[in-house]
């Protein structure tokens, strides 16, 4: 088969066809800083730097996407919240900016045009789009309206809100939906090929299915319907098997799956409805040998590669800063070795 571009490869697999090889996404959100000799904070301060870092990461490891994502709390920053930068890890949201549920009634979504931090993200995506020449998909990311309150008000107060103050919960969802849709569509306009709808709170690890169907599910359905491009729902290593059919019903096209669940079973549940994205263990990856990397890649491809509908990636949505270059090279080489279609020669390797 003639070699495809990354974009062709990804579109083929999302159309449940086998491309030339299994596509793989390396979510190297921070490694570009090291490549450019910058601190993580400096790196994220300018869209030009993030774009350059992403392009260099792809030149090194040959993966099939460019990450148009900076850091999750960039949204918190836009809302006026605090972001805590670290020298060796992703920026974190600081103290919650919603200090009591009563403040929800006065909340209004930030303007994207007036948020310098969001504008830098859009600038990065514009540059990637212009330099990648339409051959590489650019992943934009939004935190779902249902999951954003963990950063906005803290996890425990948010769970209390869900259980005890349904009207304020609905109000918060309405405000967050407005922001999320605008932010997703701004990224699509800037050059993102599709949007990762980051929704860990909807995972079966966090809420049971009956609660999901009353909360995260309708929120996702309403929000995704208004996003003017394809979405992939990501649960950040949370379990999804019990809600796969529901997630497909939200209108999303792909799902990020966990190493905690059997990949073959998940793929069967998703077949024909959702492209499976996953499920390498990025936390363990830090100390993988070449053999560990090859075994993990080979097993994942054996479990989920057949028939397309599969993108190899880590299961967290972000590869930690501590994962060294040799591991990333070993993953890339293993996909090229074991991911060529047809996959007849790939069997699970203990």
């Amino acid at each position: 088969m003639t070699a495809m571009t990354s974009l062709q490869r990804v579109l083929a697999t999302m159309g449940n066809r086998e491309p030339d090889r299994v596509p793989y996404f390396l979510s190297l959100t921070m490694h570009g800083a090291r490549e450019l000799g910058l601190s993580i904070k400096e790196y994220f301060s300018k869209g030009e730097l993030v774009a350059e870092g992403q392009l260099r990461m792809r030149a090194k490891y040959g993966h099939d996407c460019l990450n148009g994502f900076s850091y999750a709390p960039v949204e918190v920053e836009a809302w006026g919240g605090e972001v805590i930068f670290s020298d060796d890890g992703p920026p974190n949201s600081g103290a919650p900016f919603i200090r009591s549920p009563e403040e929800i009634g006065r909340l209004t979504p930030p303007s994207i045009a007036d948020s310098p931090c969001l504008q830098e993200v859009l600038k990065a995506q514009q540059i990637m789009k212009s330099r990648a020449g339409g051959e590489v998909p650019i992943v934009g990311v939004v935190v779902s309206p249902f999951s954003a309150p963990v950063m906005q008000m803290g996890f425990a107060p948010y769970l209390d809100l869900i259980f005890e103050q349904p009207s304020l919960f609905e109000r918060l969802m309405a405000v967050n939906e407005e922001f999320c849709v605008a932010w997703a569509n701004a990224q699509l306009a800037a050059g993102a090929t599709f949007i990762c709808y980051f929704d860990p709170v909807s995972s079966a690890s966090i809420v049971p299915r009956d609660l999901y169907l009353k909360t995260g599910f309708p929120v996702a359905k309403r929000t995704i319907a208004r996003i003017k491009g394809a979405t992939a729902t990501h649960f950040a290593s949370g379990r999804c098997l019990s809600v796969v059919g529901d997630v497909a019903d939200t209108g999303t096209k792909a799902i990020g799956v966990s190493v905690l669940e059997d990949l073959k079973t998940v793929k069967e549940a998703c077949r024909g409805r959702l492209t499976v994205v996953g499920n390498l263990n990025a936390i363990e990856m830090r100390h993988w040998s070449d053999e560990d990397a090859e075994r993990s890649v080979r097993n994942a491809i054996a479990a989920a590669g057949a028939g397309g509908g599969f993108i190899l990636a880590d299961n967290h949505g972000e590869i930690p800063w501590q994962v060294p270059e040799p591991v990333l090279y070993a993953i890339a080489e293993s996909v090229r070795r074991w991911g060529r279609y047809p996959l007849a020669q790939v069997e699970e390797h203990g």
Binding site: G154, R239, I283, W321
Partner: protein, 210 residues
């Protein structure tokens, strides 16, 4: 799982505080408060923790179960009550970030099991060292969400050792669940795979002699 434990667990998961209180009252009438902490409360929360690990329950259910449990037990055994367990000096903290849920769950489990403990909220290296020394903490429970925060616990361990503070560190949180060897790497004394493990680990670290 015996019948009272099953009934108590089911009541907690159904958010049925009234039924949970009835089961609890019956157990206290039958065997007293302190044995109930062990045979009913800790046993039920341990079962709930195991079910979460197996993917059968969600974190929100554990949170609500812990909250009800903590609230119920405090009506029977208020904080400061002499009937509370004779225990080492305990504290719980989140290290370096603001992901507080894990700490809240551990706090609930230990309080529900009859222990009293200090809640340090979010700490960094300096504040953790100061608080442990000031309060002469013997066992420190640390919750983290991010890998780099987990790795930084090694610095805390080293500094505590240098200061000659004989505190045991129990860690928990996602990085430790996804990398089974990480807790040893950072110099922790034990690792909980879920919040409910906290009470069991505490008994193990103290030789069950509480």
């Amino acid at each position: 799982m015996n019948e009272p434990v099953a009934a108590f667990k089911n009541a907690l998961l159904a958010l049925d505080r009234v039924s949970a209180q009835e089961v609890l009252q019956e157990s206290i009438d039958r065997q007293g408060v302190v044995p109930t902490l062990e045979t009913l409360i800790t046993a039920s929360l341990t079962e709930i923790g195991r079910s979460w690990e197996a993917g059968e329950l969600a974190l929100s259910q554990i949170y609500m179960a812990g909250r009800i449990c903590e609230n119920l037990i405090e009506t029977f055994l208020p904080l400061g009550d002499p009937g509370r367990r004779n225990q080492p000096r305990l504290a719980v903290a989140v290290y370096e970030d603001y992901h507080m849920l894990g700490k809240r769950l551990v706090h609930s489990v230990l309080r529900s099991a009859g222990y009293e403990l200090r809640d340090y909220g979010r700490v960094d290296l300096d504040s953790a060292l100061r608080l442990v020394a000031e309060d002469r903490i013997e066992i420190l429970f640390i919750s983290v969400l991010m890998l780099h925060s987990a790795l930084h616990i090694a610095d805390l361990r080293q500094r505590l050792n240098l200061a000659g503070l004989p505190v045991k560190i129990v860690v928990g949180g996602a990085p430790f669940c996804f990398d089974q060897g990480l807790w040893r790497e950072v110099g922790a004394d034990a690792m909980g795979r879920n919040a409910s493990d906290a009470a069991v680990i505490l008994q193990e670290l103290t030789g069950g002699g509480l």
